[in-house]
C-alpha cells in the first residue's frame, strides 16, 4: 500500500475533525479553571463549518465526469456523494448539539471543553462508518463513534441526582454496546471465514460461491443485522435506549437520538447495499449464497413492524418527556427500517429512491428532533430538569415562542403536513409502496403515525390547554432559542419546498 495525498483527500472531512478535536483539547488545557469555556464551543462549531465547506467543495469536485468516488487505503474507505451527504448531516447535528450543550452545561454544571472534543470525535467516527466499504473500517467507525458517545452519556458528573443517573446510563449503554461489538465482530469473522475477504463488495460476490458455507454466511449476515439493530435501537433490542436517553444530559440525548441513529442507519444502508449487490453489478446474485434470503428479509420486515409497534405504543404511557422522545425515536427507527428494507429489496432505480428517502427522512428527523430536545433542555434548571409532563403545563402562556417551536417540532415528528416530517414519511413510504410486498408495513406505519399523534399531542395539550403551573424563571443564554428557531425554520422550509434537499439526496447514491 502506497501512501498518497489522494488517500488523505478521501478522509479529508474526518481529518478536519480530528485536528479540531486535538486543538480544542490543547486549548482547554491552557484555559484557566474559572474561565468561561464558550470559546471552545465556538472552536468546535468553527471546525464544523470549515468541514461543511470542505464537504461542499468535495461534493462539487465529485460531480465532474468519471470521478464520482474517491477510494483510499486499499479500498477500505470511499468518499462519494453518499458519504458527503451523511457528513453534512453529522456536522449539522454536531453544531446544533454543541450549541445546546453550551447553554445546558453553564446552567447545570460548568462548561467543559472535553465534551466538544468527544462530539467531534463521535462525528468523525460516524463519517468513517458511512464511508466504509470494508468490514474492518465499519468496525472502526462504529467503535470510534460509540466510545465517544459512552463518555458523553456519562458526562454529567457534578450535580447530585443527575450525575448518578448519568453514570448509570453510561454504564448500561457501555455494557450493551460492548455486547453489540462482540456480536458485530463475530459476524465479521464468520463472513471473513466464508469469503476470505473483509471487503464488502468482494464478500457479496464470494459468499455465493463458497461451497458448504451457506449456513455460515447466513449466520454472519444475521449477526451483522443484529448488531446494527442494536445500534439503531430496533425493538426488541432497544432496551438500553430509554434508560440511556433519560440519564444522559439532554443535549447529548438529542445527539444520540439523531446523529448516532442516523450514522447507524446510513452505515447499514451502505453495508447491506454492498452485500446484496445491485442489478448490473457483478454481484447481482450475491445473497443467493445465503441459506434463506427471503427469511432474512422477512426478519427485517418483522423487526420493522415490532419496532414501530413497540416504540409508539410504549411512548403512549410515558410521563417523562425524555423517555417519551426516546420511545418516539424508537418508533422512527421502525419507519426507517421499512426504508432500509426497501433499499435491500429494491434494484436499480427503486433502490436509489429508497436510499434517497432514508437520507431525506434522517435529515428532517435529525433537525426536528434536535429542536425538540433543545426545548426540553432549555426548560430544565440546575437540580430540576422539569421533565414531567406536568412541568410543561401552560408553557404557551409564559413562553409562546418556545412553545410554538416545540409545537412545530412535535407536529413534524408526528407527520402532519405541510411540515418536514410529513414529507419525509411520504417520501419513505412512497419508496416502500413501490414494492407491493411492503404495503402492509406502510399501512402499519401510517396507523402508528396516528398513535404517535396521541402522545405528541399530549405534550401540546399540556403546553397549550392547561393553566400554567410553577413559574419558570428567566432563562440563561440564547443559543437554545437559536437552535429552536433553526429547527422551526427548517421544518417549514423542508415541508413547503423540499425540492432542493430531495435533489441532493437523490444525487447522493451509494455505490
Amino acid at each position: 500500500m502506497t501512501f498518497s495525498a489522494e488517500q488523505l483527500l478521501a478522509i479529508a472531512p474526518m481529518l478536519v475533525l480530528w485536528a479540531a478535536a486535538l486543538a480544542v483539547l490543547l486549548v482547554e488545557s491552557f484555559t484557566g479553571a474559572s474561565t468561561s469555556r464558550r470559546h471552545l464551543m465556538w472552536m468546535a462549531i468553527g471546525a464544523c463549518v470549515i468541514d461543511l465547506w470542505v464537504v461542499a467543495l468535495q461534493w462539487s469536485a465529485l460531480s465532474g465526469g468519471a470521478a464520482t468516488r474517491l477510494a483510499g487505503f486499499s479500498g477500505t474507505v470511499v468518499l462519494d456523494r453518499y458519504a458527503l451527504f451523511a457528513d453534512g448531516l453529522f456536522l449539522v447535528a454536531t453544531v446544533l448539539a454543541s450549541m445546546l450543550f453550551a447553554d445546558h452545561s453553564s446552567e447545570h454544571e460548568r462548561e467543559r471543553g472535553d465534551v466538544y472534543v468527544l462530539l467531534l470525535l463521535a462525528a468523525s467516527g460516524m463519517m468513517l462508518l458511512t464511508a466504509a466499504t470494508d468490514l474492518v473500517t465499519v468496525f472502526l467507525g462504529i467503535e470510534l463513534m460509540s466510545l465517544a458517545v459512552y463518555a458523553l452519556t456519562g458526562s454529567a458528573r457534578r450535580v447530585a441526582p443527575a450525575s448518578a443517573r448519568s453514570a448509570e446510563a453510561a454504564m448500561k449503554y457501555y455494557l450493551m454496546g460492548a455486547f453489540t461489538t462482540a456480536i458485530l465482530l463475530y459476524g465479521i469473522a464468520l463472513l471473513y471465514g466464508v469469503s476470505g475477504s473483509t471487503n464488502l463488495a468482494e464478500i457479496g460476490q464470494k459468499i455465493g460461491q463458497a461451497p458448504g458455507g451457506r449456513l455460515v454466511a447466513t449466520a454472519g449476515v444475521v449477526l451483522l443485522t443484529v448488531a446494527f439493530a442494536f445500534k439503531v435501537s430496533a425493538a426488541p433490542l432497544h432496551m438500553w435506549a430509554p434508560d440511556a436517553y433519560e440519564g444522559a444530559p439532554t443535549p447529548i440525548t438529542g445527539f444520540m437520538a439523531t446523529a448516532v441513529k442516523a450514522a447507524a442507519f446510513l452505515g447499514a444502508v451502505r453495508v447491506f447495499s454492498l452485500l446484496t449487490g445491485d442489478a448490473g453489478n457483478t454481484a447481482g446474485a450475491a445473497l443467493v449464497g445465503l441459506r434463506s434470503v427471503a427469511g432474512w428479509k422477512a426478519g427485517l420486515g418483522l423487526l420493522a413492524a415490532v419496532t414501530m409497534l413497540w416504540g409508539n405504543l410504549a411512548a403512549l404511557r410515558q410521563e417523562n418527556l425524555k423517555r417519551l422522545l426516546a420511545y418516539s425515536s424508537i418508533g422512527h427507527a421502525g419507519y426507517l427500517l421499512v426504508g432500509l428494507l426497501a433499499v435491500v429489496q429494491g434494484q436499480g432505480e427503486l433502490r436509489a429512491q429508497a436510499q434517497a428517502a432514508v437520507q431525506f427522512y434522517l435529515m428532517s428527523y435529525t433537525i426536528t428532533s434536535l429542536g425538540a430536545f433543545g426545548v426540553v433542555a432549555w426548560l430544565g434548571r440546575r437540580g430540576d430538569e422539569r421533565l414531567h409532563l406536568d412541568d410543561w403545563a401552560g408553557l404557551a402562556g409564559r413562553h409562546p415562542g418556545m412553545a410554538f417551536a416545540m409545537l412545530l417540532c412535535l407536529l413534524s415528528l408526528g407527520g402532519v403536513p405541510p411540515l418536514a416530517g410529513f414529507f419525509g414519511k411520504f417520501y419513505l413510504f412512497r419508496a416502500a409502496m413501490e414494492q407491493p410486498e411492503l404495503l402492509w408495513l406502510v399501512i402499519l406505519g401510517v396507523l402508528m403515525s396516528v398513535v404517535s399523534a396521541c402522545y405528541y399531542l399530549r405534550v401540546v395539550m399540556a403546553m397549550y390547554f392547561r393553566e400554567p403551573g410553577r413559574a419558570i424563571g428567566p432563562l440563561p443564554g440564547s443559543l437554545v432559542p437559536a437552535v429552536a428557531v433553526v429547527a422551526a425554520v427548517t421544518i417549514l422550509v423542508l415541508g413547503l419546498a423540499p425540492s432542493t434537499l430531495l435533489e441532493l439526496a437523490a444525487a447522493a447514491k451509494a455505490r
Partner: protein, 589 residues
C-alpha cells in the same frame, strides 16, 4: 385572472401571519387585522363569480404550477359548480364567525384569530385543490387549528372533545393517504410518470379488489367528516365544547368537506366500488336522518340538539348524492350551502344566549321573546330556514333531494341501468327519509318554543338585553342570505346544474367503462374493448346476479332535462356484446 384562486386561498394565511406579527395581545388591533383579512378574502372571492362561466361544466379559474417537480406534485387549483358556492360560503362565514368571536373569545385573541385564518386557508384549499397531494395537505391543515380552537377556547370537557376530534379525523385521513399513495404508485407503474393530478389519477382504473380497498379508505375519511351514522359520535362532543365561532365553522363548512370529498374523489376515482357501495351509503344516510332527528329531540343542551340536527340534515345531503340523478344531486349541493347558512345561524343564536347566561341548557331559558324580541324574530327566521319552510333557503335543497331520491329508480332505468339506484327498494328508503320534513319541524320548533315562548319565569332571564348593534351586524348578513337564496335560488342553481349534469354523464361513462375491468389495473381508455371483456371477470364484480329486468338496456338517450347523454350505452353492445357487464351492473341492485 388565473392567479385569483391562489390569492383567495392564501390571503387568509397571509392574514394569519400579519396577526401573529402584531406585537401585543391588543384585542382590537388583532381582531381588526384578522377581520380585515377575512373580509378582503371574501371580496376577492366574489371575483370568482365574475370569472365563472355558468354554462361551462369543467374546471374553471384553474391555476397549475409545479410544487415539487420530481415527485409530480403540483399546486393545481380549480373550481366548478360543486365548489364555487362552497368557496363563497367559506369566505362568507369566516368573517361572520370572527365578528361573533369578539365577545365569546377573551383569552389569547391573537392565537385565536390566527387559528381561524389558517383554518380558512385549509378549508378553501381543500375545496379547490385538484392535486391529491395538495388536497391532503390542505385537508390536514384544517386539523390542527380546529384542534386548538376546541382545546384552548372550548368548554369544560374541551380536552376530551379535542383529542376525540383529532383521533377520529386522523385515523380516516391517514388511511386515505395510503390509498392516495397506492393510486399514485399504480399511476406511475402504468404510465411511467409521477403525478398526483386529479385528472391524471382519475384515468387510472384499478382492479376490482384494489378499488374496494381504496374506496373504503377514502369513504372512511369522508364518512367521519360528514359525519355518517355510526361514525358521528365525535361531532356532538366537538360541537358542544367548541366556542361559538368554532361551532359555526365546524358545522357550517368543515362537515361539507365530507360530502364534497365523496363527490370529487371517492366516487369518480373508484367507480366500481361506488357501484357496489352506494346503496349501503344510502342506507346509512337514512338511518342517520332518522336517528339524528330522534336524538336531537331528546337533548337538553341546545348545542347538542343542533349538532344532532346536523347529523340528520347531512344524512339528507348524503342521500342526495347517492340517488344518482341530477335533481337530487343538485339539491344536495344546494343543501350544503343552505345548511351552512342555517346551522351557522343557529349556532350564532345559541352563542348569543351563551354569552349572556353562560349556559346552554334549554331548561334555563323560556319566554325570552319578551326580553329579546329582536333576537326572537331573527332566530325564528333561522329556525324556519333550518326546518325548510318554503321561501327560505332550506326548502329547495331538501325538496330536490327528496323528490329526486324517489325518482332514482326510474331515472336509473332510463340511463340504461348504468348507475346504481339506492337499493332494492329505493322508494322505501326515500319514504323513510322524507320523515325528516316532519321530524326536523318537531325538534326545531320544540327548541324554539322552549327557548322563547311561555312565561319568562327564570329571574336571571328577565333582565337580558336584546341584541347589541355588533350582534346585529353578525346576524344581518346571514339572515339576508337565508332570505335571498330562499326567494331567488336561481342564480345559484344555474351555476350548479351544468356541473351536476356533466358529473353524472361522466360517472355513467366511468361505470360503463367497467366492462373493461378485469383483475388488472389499467389506464382508462387505453385498453381496446376486446381486451378486458372476459365474462368471468365481469361476473365476478357483479356478485350474485339477480334476474334481468326487461327494458334495462333501452337506449333511451336522455339523462335529465332532455340533454342528450353521450355516455349512454348502445343497446347492441349491452345486449349482445357484453351481457356480463350488464349482469354486473344489475347484480348490485
Amino acid at each position: 385572472m388565473d392567479a385569483l384562486l391562489p390569492v383567495v386561498v392564501l390571503l387568509p394565511l397571509l392574514g394569519a401571519g400579519c396577526v401573529l406579527l402584531v406585537p401585543n395581545q391588543e384585542g382590537v388591533v388583532v381582531r381588526g387585522v384578522g377581520l380585515a383579512a377575512a373580509l378582503l378574502t371574501f371580496l376577492v372571492s366574489l371575483g370568482l363569480l365574475g370569472v365563472f362561466d355558468p354554462a361551462a361544466a369543467g374546471f374553471q379559474a384553474e391555476f397549475n404550477r409545479p410544487w415539487v417537480e420530481s415527485l409530480g406534485i403540483r399546486f393545481h387549483l380549480g373550481i366548478d359548480g360543486l365548489t364555487l358556492w362552497l368557496v363563497l360560503l367559506t369566505t362568507f362565514l369566516t368573517p361572520v364567525a370572527l365578528l361573533a368571536a369578539t365577545r365569546a373569545i377573551t383569552k389569547k385573541p391573537k392565537e385565536f384569530v390566527a387559528s381561524m385564518l389558517i383554518l380558512e386557508t385549509g378549508m378553501l384549499g381543500a375545496f379547490v385543490a385538484l392535486d391529491l397531494f395538495a388536497f391532503y395537505v390542505f385537508w390536514e391543515l384544517m386539523l390542527i387549528p380546529m384542534y386548538l380552537i376546541i382545546g384552548i377556547w372550548g368548554g369544560e370537557r374541551r380536552v376530551y372533545a379535542s383529542i376525540k376530534f383529532v383521533l377520529y379525523t386522523m385515523v380516516g385521513s391517514l388511511l386515505m393517504l395510503v390509498a392516495i399513495f397506492y393510486l399514485y404508485t399504480e399511476h406511475h407503474r402504468l404510465t411511467g410518470s409521477w403525478s398526483f393530478d386529479y385528472t391524471a389519477l382519475s384515468t387510472v382504473v384499478l382492479s376490482a379488489s384494489a378499488q374496494r380497498w381504496c374506496f373504503a379508505a377514502f369513504a372512511l375519511a369522508f364518512a367521519i367528516k360528514v359525519p355518517l351514522w355510526p361514525l358521528h359520535t365525535w361531532l356532538p362532543d366537538a360541537h358542544v365544547e367548541a366556542p361559538t365561532p368554532g361551532s359555526v365553522i365546524l358545522a357550517g363548512i368543515l362537515l361539507k368537506l365530507g360530502i364534497y370529498g365523496f363527490l370529487r374523489f371517492a366516487f369518480p376515482l373508484f367507480p366500481l366500488a361506488t357501484l357496489e357501495m352506494t346503496p349501503w351509503l344510502g342506507l346509512l344516510a337514512v338511518i342517520g336522518i332518522v336517528y339524528g332527528a330522534l336524538v336531537a329531540y331528546a337533548q337538553d343542551d341546545a348545542k347538542k340538539l343542533i349538532a344532532y340536527s346536523s347529523v340528520s340534515h347531512l344524512g339528507v345531503a348524503m342521500l342526495g348524492i347517492v340517488a344518482w340523478n341530477a335533481r337530487a344531486l343538485a339539491g344536495a349541493v344546494f343543501m350544503l350551502v343552505a345548511h351552512g347558512l342555517t346551522t351557522g345561524g343557529l349556532f350564532l343564536g345559541i352563542g348569543a344566549l351563551y354569552d349572556r347566561r353562560h349556559t346552554r341548557r334549554i331548561d334555563e331559558f323560556g319566554g325570552l321573546w319578551k326580553a329579546m324580541p329582536v333576537f326572537g324574530a331573527l332566530f325564528l327566521i333561522i329556525t324556519m330556514g333550518s326546518i325548510g319552510l318554503p321561501g327560505l333557503v332550506g326548502f329547495i335543497g331538501e325538496l330536490l333531494v327528496l323528490s329526486g331520491s324517489f325518482g332514482a329508480y326510474e331515472l336509473n332505468r332510463a340511463t340504461g341501468g348504468a348507475l346504481p339506484s339506492l337499493s332494492a327498494h329505493p322508494k322505501v328508503l326515500a319514504a323513510i327519509a322524507t320523515t325528516t320534513v316532519v321530524l326536523s319541524a318537531v325538534y326545531m320548533l320544540t327548541l324554539f318554543q322552549r327557548l322563547l315562548f311561555g312565561p319568562n319565569s327564570n329571574p336571571k332571564n328577565q333582565a337580558l338585553k336584546d341584541l347589541s348593534p355588533r350582534e346585529l351586524v353578525v346576524f344581518a348578513p346571514v339572515i339576508a342570505v337565508i332570505l335571498w337564496l330562499g326567494i331567488f335560488p336561481g342564480p345559484v342553481m344555474d351555476r350548479i346544474t351544468p356541473t351536476v349534469e356533466h358529473y353524472l354523464t361522466d360517472m355513467q361513462q366511468r361505470i360503463v367503462d367497467l366492462r373493461n375491468v378485469d383483475t388488472e389495473s389499467h389506464i382508462r381508455g387505453e385498453r381496446s374493448a376486446s381486451q378486458g371483456r372476459g365474462p368471468r371477470a365481469a361476473l365476478e364484480l357483479g356478485g350474485p346476479a339477480r334476474a334481468l329486468r326487461t327494458g334495462q338496456g333501452r337506449p333511451s338517450a336522455q339523462l335529465v332535462d332532455g340533454s342528450p347523454s353521450r355516455a349512454v350505452v348502445p343497446e347492441a353492445q349491452l345486449v349482445a356484446g357484453v351481457p356480463s357487464a350488464r349482469l354486473a351492473v344489475e347484480g348490485v341492485r
